[in-house]
Assembly symmetry: C2
Homo-oligomer: 211 residues x 2
């Protein structure tokens, strides 16, 4: 059965998935690269990177994924909807390699990129977007790509089957929190936790009914 | 050198150290015992309890401690200052066994309890309270007892040398947060993280200059 999965979603110890402000130069605000340094040090990201526990988790990002859904804040900085030339942060060959659905109130025509990524723009809610992405995924899983606001919506709607979360031991103090409005969400999941020698902690939330 | 230490300080994955509301019946609000179940399952708490990693951390609570400082919210429910008979939550023999300083704007006479605990009431700020507690500790360490508001004050003032934090994988959603106003506080500490088979994660923050 096609599942919805989240991978490599990194938050600070105080629960922020991004700092502030988000701009073209600082996609994660004052957090800079601190939330994702663990991932950039792995073989998944860099062929000379580490090949231990961090990489084992990181590389799951792509395995068995047939489509991604991302929020508007992940696709570009504030105001990208006003720039008809904006094609995402990732250059000509984005690291998705599947149909990739961008949730936005101002949809635009499909963007066909190199390497198999096609950005498609939807102005629907989470459940309808998931139906469309599932169909595009052709029986494979759908990755819920974030950022935090859209992930929160999908979690609140019960639409996430597997969540891989990475807690980085820094106190960001400000930004966008993941957990707001999600009291008790862990009740639907089996949760496992493991600390990595790199200093981050990996948590997996696996929906009981979807195992 | 006498250090200031925090032990067994438990927070939810979303950063709350207590739920709400705090009442006589529910000292941790809607969190109930969920933040401290890991500790109550150890030999430190229960002679038939576990004797692994959780207990190794838990029992450090008492080792080498000569005094504790706690906040008013730890000593009693809202309004305890209006009850001249209130003697804390812990019965005749509280688990402190040292001079124990309670920070409150309405001090009262010392309370001599069984087992070596004497509650003394101070209306000072963190630094002055620490000076008084250090003297009472006779060269031993001073435990910073919490709750979250007073711990936050001590962390912000740079008065914590060692912090043992326990992250419990639940989303409380509301209550009192530990981290507010503490952006970047980790920069002064060496941080280690280890996951326990019980499901909680232990973090230690050890001040670099105090090692």
């Amino acid at each position: 059965m096609s599942r919805t999965r989240v991978h490599n979603f990194s938050i600070s110890l105080d629960g922020f998935a991004t700092g502030e402000p988000q701009t073209l130069e600082t996609p994660f605000g004052h957090a800079g690269q601190r939330l994702h340094r663990w991932m950039m040090a792995t073989r998944f990201w860099d062929e000379n990177g580490s090949d231990g526990i961090d990489n084992a988790f990181a590389q799951r990002h792509s395995e068995g994924i047939g489509a991604e859904i991302m929020g508007a804040h992940k696709f570009g900085p504030p105001g990208w909807q006003d720039d008809p030339e904006w094609r995402g942060w990732w250059g000509d060959n984005p690291p998705f390699h599947t149909p990739t659905f961008v949730l936005t109130h101002r949809p635009r025509p499909d963007l066909v990129m190199d390497g198999g990524t096609t950005f498609r723009f939807l102005s629907t809610g989470p459940a309808e977007a998931l139906g469309i992405a599932r169909e595009a995924a052709g029986g494979l899983d759908v990755r819920i790509g974030g950022g935090p606001s859209m992930l929160r919506d999908f979690l609140a709607a019960g639409l996430v089957d597997h969540l891989h979360l990475v807690v980085v031991p820094i106190i960001l103090g400000r930004g966008v929190r993941l957990w707001d409005g999600l009291e008790g969400v862990e009740a639907d999941y089996d949760v496992e936790t493991v600390a990595s020698p790199s200093g981050v902690t990996h948590l997996t939330f696996t929906r009981r009914s979807a195992q």
